[in-house]
């Protein structure tokens, strides 16, 4: 859906992007992970042409974005930023209706869509429809920001550190909401963050950026695998790479045939890290799968998966 081909960009003397090439398949939630100054936000902004690359191409749906009218392009892409940027002089409903208004939707259609979106992001329409942005908490504001981005049902969503300004509890709530929305709508989402945990919580694919270059790209497990690049290792506490790798791997994938009667049960969707922690907690070296009695998980399998 989105493809970067040899993208270069400079800001003054700084090489912000250097020869970045990778693709985001349709329907994926791809996280661009990197520290400050790695170029991740710059890369994101080349997709909706808030940044025009000095060299290289950015393709959206197979077409070069440089050939499209910028405003029309942006109206077809959802955009969420860290500071939310709600319009203080409009109500929540007015904010959400921004792009539909620009596209000329009629009132009935817009209102129906607004209510549906508020439900989708977890806000009660009746309560929030007419509220002013100044009266919203940080988490509520960003939910409205998300709804606003989704208003015209764009196939692609760009998110620039959307949850970084929120406290951890609120952040987790919004990450869950985003996962739900992604699962329900199948949109292509490109999300920028500096938080590895957030990347692991959300990503279907991860692209690691460092100093303007693409350091690694692939599924979380692959990126955290034996070939994990130096920039990524720098983002985690030394010695915890294995643990993070385990957190990216579903426990079901390392299951062996055969029952393990009496062993503690892993809930569905558990990762190998959850499994390890459960083993430590119960003092067991075998686990069973809740809902799948014919399979079990042994410590050896975990050690194999964690092997650097």
């Amino acid at each position: 859906m989105i493809a970067f081909e040899g993208v270069f960009h400079r800001f003054g003397a700084v090489q912000a992007l250097e020869d970045v090439t990778f693709a985001v398949p349709t329907g994926t939630l791809c996280v661009v992970l990197g520290e400050s100054g790695s170029g991740k936000s710059t890369l994101l902004r080349t997709v909706n042409r808030l940044v025009e690359p000095a060299a290289g191409r950015v393709l959206l749906g197979g077409k070069d974005v440089a050939g499209a009218d910028p405003q029309a392009l942006r109206r077809g892409i959802g955009y969420v930023i860290q500071s939310v940027g709600l319009f203080p002089h409009r109500s929540v409903a007015g904010n959400i209706a921004t792009v539909p208004r620009l596209l000329g939707w009629d009132r009935a259609r817009t209102e129906a869509r607004t209510d549906a979106l508020l439900e989708m992001v977890g806000l009660d329409p009746a309560t929030f429809r007419d509220r002013r942005p100044a009266t919203l908490s940080g988490g509520q504001a960003q939910r409205v920001g998300l709804a606003r981005a989704l208003a015209a049902d764009p196939p692609v969503l760009l998110m620039d550190e959307p949850f970084s300004a929120l406290d951890p509890g609120t952040r987790r709530g919004l990450q869950a909401a985003l996962r739900r929305i992604h699962a329900g709508t199948g949109k292509t989402i490109l999300l920028v963050t500096h938080d590895l945990e957030e990347a692991l919580a959300l990503a279907g694919r991860i692209a690691v950026m460092a100093q303007g270059r693409l350091a690694a790209e692939g599924t979380p497990a692959a990126v955290l695998g034996p070939g994990a690049p130096e920039p990524l290792r720098r983002m985690i506490r030394p010695g915890t790479l294995a643990l993070h790798r385990l957190a990216a791997l579903p426990a079901a994938g390392a299951a062996a045939e055969g029952p393990a009667p009496g062993a503690p049960a892993l809930p569905p969707g558990a990762t190998l890290a959850d499994a390890l922690l459960l083993m430590l907690d119960r003092g067991a070296d075998r686990l069973s799968f809740a809902g799948n009695p014919g399979r079990h998980l042994g410590m050896a399998a975990i050690l194999r998966a964690a092997a650097p």
Binding site: R75, S83, V99
Partner: protein, 244 residues
């Protein structure tokens, strides 16, 4: 708010009634100024003076807005930002020059009458608009602008839908200031021959007629206060955070 509006409307009616009554209140003026031979101002109809005062001040404000607002908008665009120092310098210079001096300087160029006052008025009233436009537009949260661009608004749409509505309270206070300045400067324009509510004041001072001076001053001050309160009422319910 509605109550204040009603009170204001009543006061305006009282003002007009007083204007009507002034030439007919000879007894009052004689009583207040027994030593003055002709205390009742009859040289110009008061309503005519009010009319030309309003026409001059408000006309100048309209022209000033047409100059000051676009200039302020330009000064906050990426290209126009370099003009800022010059604009600030112009403000500084203008503040050291009293309006009567500006009228006086325009006089040799434009002769007696309304013209020099109009010129001075437009120049002075443009400044509050310019300043209000610049400070109002600069106070728009950058995040809102970034989001507006990212969502697909063109620069014009951004200005119209986001920047100007958010700057509106500041713009309205600029309007209020411009009107106050304009009404006051128009009154001074009477010395240069502009017909207005200041004319009786100037005539009275020239002819040692304190009754004329009092009447002119009274109505001039009252008009200024009425207009200021009317504009305050206009600006009040449109603060951000309230329903438009």
């Amino acid at each position: 708010m509605r109550r204040r509006a009603t009170l204001l409307a009543l006061e305006a009616l009282a003002f007009l009634a007083a204007l009507w009554a002034a030439p007919r209140a000879g007894a009052l003026w004689h009583a207040l100024f027994p030593e003055v031979a002709r205390p009742t101002y009859l040289q110009d109809p008061w309503f005519a003076l009010l009319g030309s005062h309003l026409a001059l001040s408000l006309g100048a404000v309209a022209i000033a807005a047409a100059i000051g607002l676009p200039a302020g908008i330009l000064a906050t665009r990426p290209g126009g930002r370099r003009l800022r120092p010059v604009l600030d310098a112009a403000f500084s210079l203008a503040q050291g020059l009293p309006p009567v001096a500006a009228i006086a300087l325009a006089l040799p160029l434009l002769g007696f009458g309304t013209a020099p006052t109009l010129l001075a008025l437009v120049l002075y009233a443009a400044l509050p608009f310019l300043r209000a436009a610049v400070s109002g537009l600069e106070a728009v949260p950058p995040a809102a602008l970034d989001a507006a661009t990212g969502l697909g608004m063109s620069p014009w749409q951004r200005l119209w839908e986001v920047e100007l509505p958010l700057a509106r309270p500041v713009l309205l206070s600029g309007l209020r200031l411009a009107v106050t300045l304009s009404v006051a400067t128009t009154a001074v324009g009477a010395v240069a021959g502009a017909p207005c509510l200041g004319t009786p004041i100037v005539t009275g001072l020239a002819n040692a007629n304190p009754s004329y001076v009092l009447q002119g001053a009274l109505f001039t001050a009252w008009l200024a206060l009425l207009l200021d309160r009317a504009l305050a009422l206009l600006a009040a319910p449109l603060a951000p955070g309230e329903a438009p």
